[in-house]
């Protein structure tokens, strides 16, 4: 009976199960096709056309948009900046979340409250978060300047955190990391709570110290969730937009111009939808390649037995 249930019966395309199955997934597939995959194909088409704001005709220019984009002075910096932002975000979010996980996993009464507090940054909409941090980092009256100047005395005078090319990228990473750490911590905590205590006790009896137990038990057992977190954070890093949008607007110069900001800037500031679509297509290709790479590296089981070969 089980054998029969688990395998689709060949030649029975119109069996009851098959009909139920396809009928139940088709609505979701249609939604995804109309509002995610479909528009992307359309973006590809637009990227071959000369399409500016208010234009009635959209002549086909093939690769001209791409050529212009690659030759433009923002393209190379935006690739580099996206890389810096994504790598910085993934590394810091993961490390901070891991440290938090190890602390919060200890038996301690108040930790229930801290876990509750984890949900709060996660629940705050990105844009409101960005707005709050813009005020915190304000160059004239911001509390961050107050802390580093009057509190710690690290600087003698107020700094322009968002206007200084040396600090701007690091500064916009802070709100992103603050918002992303909680979910990563929650996921890692969920994972760490499934590791059997007996493993640690056995290792303790064998004389393994804290570090050895962490390296030999915690890390390997957490591996699938670590990978999941890394995939998720990579995608969040590449697609991050709110903080550039609110805090720096891509500046100073092009120091914080990322690909997602470039899509916005070329489309809505320069009014060149054709070229904006180019950036969008290139960005999607990068995200897609990275994702496929991750799916290759991941043990397929952890995506719920989705085999991707």
């Amino acid at each position: 009976m089980r054998e029969l249930e688990e395998r689709p019966k060949k030649g029975r395309w119109f069996g009851k199960d098959t009909r139920f199955g396809y009928l139940s997934i088709v609505p979701a597939l249609i939604l995804m096709s109309f509002f995610s995959a479909g528009p992307l194909v359309y973006a590809l088409a637009l990227s071959f056309q000369k399409y500016t704001l208010g234009a009635v005709e959209r002549p086909f220019v093939f690769l001209e948009n791409y050529q212009k984009l690659v030759e433009s002075k923002f393209f190379a910096p935006s690739l580099v900046n996206t890389l810096i932002f994504t790598v910085g975000a993934v590394v810091f979010v993961f490390l901070i979340a891991l440290i938090f996980t190890l602390i919060l996993n200890e038996k301690f009464r108040a930790n229930t409250w801290v876990r509750l507090a984890l949900l709060i940054p996660w629940a705050i909409p990105e844009i409101a978060n960005a707005l709050g941090w813009r005020w915190i980092f304000d160059s004239n009256w911001g509390v961050w300047n107050g802390i580093v100047v009057y509190g710690f005395g690290i600087f003698n005078s107020y700094q322009s955190w968002l206007g200084n090319p040396n600090y701007a990228m690091g500064t916009i990473l802070v709100p992103h990391i603050w918002k992303e750490v909680p979910l990563a911590t929650i996921l890692l905590l969920a994972g760490i709570s499934t590791i059997p205590k007996s493993l640690y006790e056995a290792a303790k009896l064998d004389g393994a110290n804290v570090l050895a137990r962490f390296r030999r038990i915690t890390l390997p057992m957490l591996r699938p969730i670590i990978q999941l977190v890394l995939v998720y954070e990579t995608i969040q890093g590449i697609t991050s937009f709110a903080y550039v949008f609110v805090l720096t607007g891509g500046g100073p110069g092009y120091t914080t111009t990322t690909l997602s900001w470039l899509v916005w800037m070329t489309s809505f500031s320069f009014g060149d939808f054709g070229q904006g679509s180019c950036v969008a297509v290139i960005m999607s290709i990068i995200a897609l390649l990275l994702t496929l790479l991750y799916f290759r590296l991941l043990p397929t089981k952890e995506f719920g037995a989705v085999t991707v070969r």
């Binding site: 997934i25 939604l31 969920a190």
Partner: protein
């Protein structure tokens, strides 16, 4: 002796953990706390070096303004004018309550669409063997992993052509497509973890697939369904790029879109009022998260506990 030293060590350990936990709490809550403090500042008194915290006690006029303007359009005519604010900021802040209501409608509808379409799909992907099932599932995941901003221009162009701009429906459809993969994935894992034997015995007893789903799967996967729904809700509430671009008038703006408008409002930069608007916008999701805290954490933990 030995017991004593163990006890001592565990007290020391507890103190260290307590300190570290406080550090984490400060990390998590201080930015929000500063936003709240700022929203209660009196603008005339707040620009100081070093920064001051509420020199004259909390000043609620910023919230009052946002609320009163909603309750009565005549509030301005009563002579209710906030000191230090100019029309640009006023216009944006005025729409905040309306926008929060819009957001609640949009996010709830997004969740309903996800429930209506995603529940069945997740069940089929997990339990019903169909040709190409995993391929379709992969297709749904990958379409989420693409950067949303990449489809902004096509969606804007198409919605403009078919006249769906400036409607809540357009925003709901887009948000549902963003939330769907997440929703399907969480439920897929939950359904998958239900032992095949449960399903088989129900089938032998003559249940149809649909009956298995409604009578057996739904009760078992309840925490997962609630967690997935809250995720969908949050994704919708959080999203602002499409909500900003697709809505033209204040009447169809969501809270996130209004906060974004607030951030770039023309006129003098009234920080406390902007912060009050921001706090107002983030209240609903925070309340929801605090209400469902247990289910969210449980729903997530159970993904990994198989």
């Amino acid at each position: 002796m030995v017991l004593d030293s163990i006890k001592k060590r565990s007290t020391l350990k507890n103190i260290v953990i307590a300190i570290l936990s406080i550090v984490i709490l400060v990390f998590l809550l201080s930015p929000l706390a500063w936003m709240v403090i700022t929203s209660l500042e009196e603008e005339a008194l707040m620009f100081k070096r070093p920064p001051v915290v509420l020199p004259n006690g909390p000043f609620f006029a910023n919230y009052q303004f946002i609320w009163v303007r909603f309750v009565s359009e005549e509030a301005l005519e009563w002579g209710y004018v906030l000191p230090g604010s100019l029309p640009g900021v006023l216009a944006e802040a005025r729409g905040m309550v309306q926008s929060v209501l819009n957001s609640l409608v949009v996010a709830s509808c997004t969740t309903l669409v996800c429930l209506a379409l995603g529940l069945l799909a997740a069940y089929t992907f997990a339990k019903v063997p169909i040709v190409g099932g995993t391929k379709f599932l992969f297709y749904i995941f990958v379409s989420r992993l693409l950067p949303p901003i990449a489809i902004l221009i096509p969606v804007y162009t198409v919605f403009k052509t078919i006249g769906l701009l400036d409607t809540l429906a357009s925003i709901i459809l887009i948000h549902a497509s963003f939330a769907m993969p997440f929703f399907v994935w969480i439920l897929f894992v939950h359904f998958k973890s239900v032992p095949q034997s449960v399903e088989d015995s129900a089938r032998v007893d003559g249940c149809s697939r649909f009956q298995v789903l409604t009578k057996i799967m739904l009760p078992i996967a309840k925490p997962g369904i609630i967690a997935a729904s809250i995720f969908a809700f949050m994704i919708s509430y959080n999203e602002f790029i499409f909500a900003t671009t697709l809505s033209q008038s204040a009447a169809s703006r969501t809270a996130s879109a209004t906060v974004s408008a607030l951030a770039f409002s023309i006129g003098r930069y009234s920080v406390p009022l902007i912060m009050a608007g921001g706090i107002f916008a983030i209240l609903p999701p925070i309340i929801i998260v605090l209400i469902f805290r247990k289910t969210i954490l449980e729903g997530l933990v159970s993904i990994f506990r198989r």
